[in-house]
Chain length 228, copies 2
């Protein structure tokens, strides 16, 4: 949007200005340090024709994160780099798993791609493998909101070299698990007594949390075994 206006609002800073701006919070920052961090692959500011570094607000935020991890968590740079390149579970901690009884928002493919930063091609592929769960078809096709997170997570996994078709493993696994829990509460849940229905929903929630925990424990145990 606003393509006629020569993108006035993206202000860029040169390296000296960056130092002045962050010098308050991080007194030990310096031009050479920033250049070093770039050499090490932790930053990638754009450049002018002349070769000057230009830092966007995003670059600034990333740099701040780096400095904080250094100062507060004492992490070495290689580890910080890993952490930033795959903003896995650290930041978006425990996301509310969206309450069970509630109806979820439905979004379009376009929206899904925007929110997740995933290309329509990859989204298509993920859908083919059952990782996205749209309803309807054609132009009426709509995805549950959480599918944006699913897509973003899948995208990160593919970046590590996991092929989308292999992600089916996850879909079938969770499907089986969900079906298992469903068996337990099905009678009450499908019955006509609203009281019992509500109780079944609460039970399902609990069961789901336990199941999630169990999965997580087993999964990490398996990995520890593999990693020796």
């Amino acid at each position: 949007m606003t393509s006629t206006v020569p993108q006035q609002r993206e202000r860029f800073l040169r390296i000296g200005e960056v130092v002045r701006r962050l010098g308050e919070e991080f007194p030990d920052i310096s031009i050479s340090k920033i250049r070093y961090l770039e050499d090490e692959g932790l930053l990638a500011p754009r450049r002018t024709q002349g070769g000057y570094r230009l830092f966007s607000e995003d670059d600034l935020e990333r740099l701040q994160k780096i400095l904080r991890l250094q100062r507060d968590e004492f992490l070495p740079l290689r580890v910080i780099k890993d952490e930033l390149d795959a903003p896995g579970a650290k930041e978006r901690k425990r996301k509310r798993p969206t309450p069970l009884g509630a109806e979820e928002e439905a979004i379009t493919l376009q929206e899904l791609c925007d929110r997740s930063g995933v290309s329509p091609d990859l989204a298509k592929e993920l859908e083919d493998f059952g990782l996205l769960a749209p309803r309807g078809s054609g132009s009426a096709k709509r995805y549950p909101e959480s599918d944006a997170d699913v897509a973003a997570t899948c995208a990160q996994l593919t970046r590590f070299g996991v092929a989308p078709r292999n992600l089916r493993t996850f879909r079938t696994a969770t499907g089986r698990e969900a079906a298992l829990l469903d068996q337990v509460v099905a009678p009450a849940l499908r019955g006509r007594n609203p009281e019992r229905r509500a109780q079944a929903l609460r039970d399902l929630h609990q069961l789901a949390e336990l199941a999630g925990e169990l999965s997580s424990l087993l999964f990490w145990r398996d990995l520890r075994d593999l990693a020796q």
Copy 2:
């Protein structure tokens, strides 16, 4: 106290024996390294008249803790020292899902039942279905520490009416998922280059977090579908 009894049961190790005992879990340990750690104030073993260092079991544990914090959390020594000297803040630290390259404590069936509050019968059943992963057999059978959590979680699920045999679903699912991730990092992980191995371990950690997130998202989506 107990000064009349010639404290027979306090076995002490000399530095070379310490190295041999921990060398399994920490291949890069050495006599000089242990001496260095003492110089830095992280250890304080007692001495013989002749000046030889004598390490108690407590010293051993402390040393293990130090080495784990180094290897798994990448903490510098002075921070490790603080952490050990002031065990206050240690608990509220971030709870990583049990670091990967680490060897886990091994506990007996008895201990497992105590910690999890699970009956030996149920434990037996869980083991039959592959949910517990002991090593060794007979009286030498030992379980990883995390199996106590596994058992406790399983127990809760059975209380909701899930039969132990159905819990196999979870085991096979996580096994498949773990194997999938293993494929990705296997070459580097099994290689002889320690640098690449370390990187592979970090990658595996990230992959695991992403995979966990994906599972969780899909699982809750499935449940929402079932619950309408």
